[in-house]
Symmetry: D2
Subunit: 304 residues, 4 copies
């Protein structure tokens, strides 16, 4: 059986890898890609999503979304992802007819048109989803769950408290976590352990045109250490396809929206402050070796 | 010359009076009414807006908007406005075919379709506008200004700090005040002085079918004191039509979004904290006698 | 019967007037004056208190207190009170042997040495009292009540939200209002109405050496308008001596300690958020004419 | 050369171990022990400190301090440390003449009486130190540094954000970190790695009367996992005596004082928000084997 998903993304190198998996894995039916400002501006993340769809000759609509967060001023991460967001590979002519500002509409109509609830997979900040849930609360019954890259219950990467996606639009994250929709939090607690090793990277590069493309953009990723490079967003697909690689714990997650911890996801680890209720399944550990092996198999499935 | 406006409202007794003025004054061209939860739930505020349009045989579209605030849980004001929001007068059969969840779309397309920028007149909480500005930032160039009922730099009415509209959705108010669009803040500082006296109320009731309707719903307004009853939202129209009745001061307005002052509009009255910049023209005083006289003249213009 | 009080002050022109009343009114037994940074630095407020005690040949100990607020950085109000804090009158040689940093100790021992509970009268920020209550919670049983100048439930004077004393050290104010000790809040809601008229000022100046001194320092007060000048701190003594001049309402007061409303005192005016409990008697109105007449009588009692 | 220190503690099992090291190590001159509410109420933490001093026949003054935090309501940790705070060993008759509420005074006079600056070692919440610094800012020049157990830049233990000591009195922690005094932050980032193994615990129990006492109270410590038990406060002494066991990084630390991350210490890990300034040396890693070996050597030095 396949899982119908919609990705809301800001490619971004790790988003690109996640999208590549989603397009090519036969158990995943990727219905729509929407984009948001994040790693780079939304016009660039939209173009990048279109380039990937074209690269794989896929027939997946792309809709451009929020140019900026709900309230907090926008800061991009071009220092990590390069000016274009997906540098190092020549995808050919720049896309034209970039769709703008219609992501929320398209999300709404796509989700409502499905018979069965879909899975939302945000790998950028959650602005589009926050607007969708506020403008169209009836959509909630048609979303099975949200598997969201973002947050950290341990160490952040913007401050020691906050991870980039949630830091970028903490108010949107608050709306998401308070929505009542089941959330799987795929945060730095696992994505900083799921490092692609040099050996994996070497293998990937040798795996056809898709491997060549991914290898090329991975080369420009300014993150990682001697243990390897994180590929944060890919963990959302990994969780969907092989959840047994992850250890999760149900927690109540609150989002901090001001002060020095702005953008932090706080887990009530003792169950002391929310009457024992939980609103998220939080990924707290991962089998990194299995993750590397899985990723290589995914690249092998890619048809470019 | 006429002024093209769009009202975003939660009728509500004082909203009803404001809408009545807007529909009937020849200098105002009311292009659209959108609704939001506030005084009562959004299905009721939408019905109430439709009832008023029908009462005046006007040809003005009504679009239903946000069911709840962006983040803060919804609390209505039915204690002030009655269960229906507009009690005390029989408007005939209940409207059917209530438009739902399309206010942001209709706002966007209506505003963009105009050649000239319009004036937005919110008299409920600002959720629809916040979603509009986030989803469609290109709309900003087509909004001349926002004349918004809400806030207080002196005493509030929910706490000593916060006024109802801003208290209901403080995050939306923050988005509005940070949008860069010129805002005229029509808050409790003037609306609690612009009391309709008993004499005015008596006169209004005698002014035809419209006066009868307004008199009937005013009777059920649970606010006011021996000096008269406030008619908060009407001040937005009064400001647009007779700005000389108001004293205004330009201030920077910040909105408090948590803690005991949640929902307060804070003015930097010494110009000490925002490099001397201002983002709003704040109404700080009004000629209450002139306001009473003006309102009677407006009711005389009404054709029901 | 006399009331035993301790004043904790930052003279400051209006503090000076309040101290002058306290020293000379036979119904008040002023046991101790402690000082705090506020209008000017604490070395100056301490010297000013000593000058006043000497001016009236009184035998009242003065103890110097906090140099700065608990957490918030210190900003003085020398723009309002002049560089010295009490300009315009020559008090003779500068005091020497300025007591430093012993206010909390002296407060503790003075209060505990009394058989009966005393009344604390802070007219500066509440840092000393906050430290006292934290270090020596046993002192609470020996404090009958705190009659505190500070705060506003309507308009502030630092921002539209915050009054100077509470703004200067909001955390100390939070400690005071949460202490469980009965508080009478004498804030801008009354002190901006209790304006000393030009006629009162003229009379005061003619009332002997004390009137001459007060008239001289009032001349340098950079506040007020055509209606007269406020004499904020004097209202604490006025309340103690003639409470019938004030209208008060019991409210729960919360203090804002961060964000744009930092330093605001928020009243739960609808009794909606604290289970109907109250922690302060808030002065909301005053008979300004009676206040003027009362103040003239007080100056007449002064013996310099 | 010896290091003069003052410990401000809430024994507590790990505090007891830290105090035991400080009393017995010849390179440490322990001048004073002050106590604070924390693991248990302050009367108990004071008695516990007195029991330890007597157990080792040491001549070290003990002064009782704050009964509760500055602002946040007090919650103890008796669930972890037992009702007495130091269960499992019979220290003989209960101490009498418990000193109360004089910690700040004694701290001030002890520190000022030294020729050279001392090192402050808080292993409980920082209320006493916050009061000391506020009441007597002149003391700052006589404090060389503060080696403080508390905080976490990774995972907390009260929420995922906050560690117990800072969570207990976040405002005091904010005062400490903003004081300008150099701080060494010894937080959960190292104390949760410095686990005493079962082998170490077995050895300790065999090391004379002191080892027997420590072994007995360790038995009742309700923390730890298969890797061993943490002995948080002992790390402050370990850092002072063998700093080479710790990896530290200089960061600016902000303390969160409200909202869901209340009590968190946030490090500006990218140096992005404080002009590159730092206010703390943060312990981020430790050699756990060396720590175990060191602790055994310390117990061997103990003379009871
Ligand atoms: Ca991403
Ligand atoms: Ca309204
Ligand atoms: Ca004062
Ligand atoms: Ca401790």
């Amino acid at each position: 059986m396949t899982t119908k998903i919609i990705m809301d993304t800001d490619p971004g190198i790790d988003d690109a890898a996640a999208i590549s998996v989603a397009i090519n894995n036969p158990e995943i039916e990727l219905e729509l890609i929407t984009t948001v400002a994040g790693n780079v501006t939304v016009d660039k993340t939209t173009k990048n999503a279109m380039k990937l769809v074209k690269f794989f000759n896929a027939d997946i609509p792309v809709a451009g979304g929020a140019e900026q967060p709900l309230i907090k001023p926008f800061e991009d991460a071009a220092r990590v992802h390069g000016e274009s967001g997906m540098p190092g590979y020549d995808f050919g002519a720049e896309p034209t007819n970039i769709p703008v500002n219609n992501a929320v509409d398209v999300l709404y109509h796509t989700i409502m048109a499905n018979d069965e609830p879909i899975v939302l997979v945000p790998t950028g900040s959650y602005t589009n989803i926050a607007v969708l849930l506020t403008e169209h609360p009836d959509v909630k019954t048609k979303i099975e769950k949200i598997v969201a890259m973002g947050g950290a219950i341990g160490m952040g990467n913007m401050t020691s408290a906050a991870e980039f996606n949630v830091f970028t639009d903490p108010h949107a994250a608050e709306i998401l976590y308070k929505s009542g929709i089941p959330v799987v939090m795929v945060g730095l607690d696992v994505t900083m352990k799921a490092l692609l090793t040099q050996s994996t990277l070497d293998t990937v590069k040798s795996l056809g045109k898709a491997g060549e493309m991914l290898g090329a953009i991975f080369n420009h990723y300014y993150e990682g250490n001697e243990g390897g490079i994180p590929m944060h967003d890919v963990n959302t697909l990994a969780y969907l396809l092989k959840p047994e690689m992850y250890k999760t714990i149900p927690y109540w997650i609150d989002v901090v929206t001001e002060g020095p911890a702005n953008g932090e996801t706080v887990a009530d680890i003792r169950g002391a402050y929310h009457d024992g209720k939980t609103n998220a399944e939080v990924c707290v550990d991962i089998d990194a070796d299995a993750f590397n092996a899985w990723f290589i198999e995914e690249v092998k499935k890619m048809n470019a």
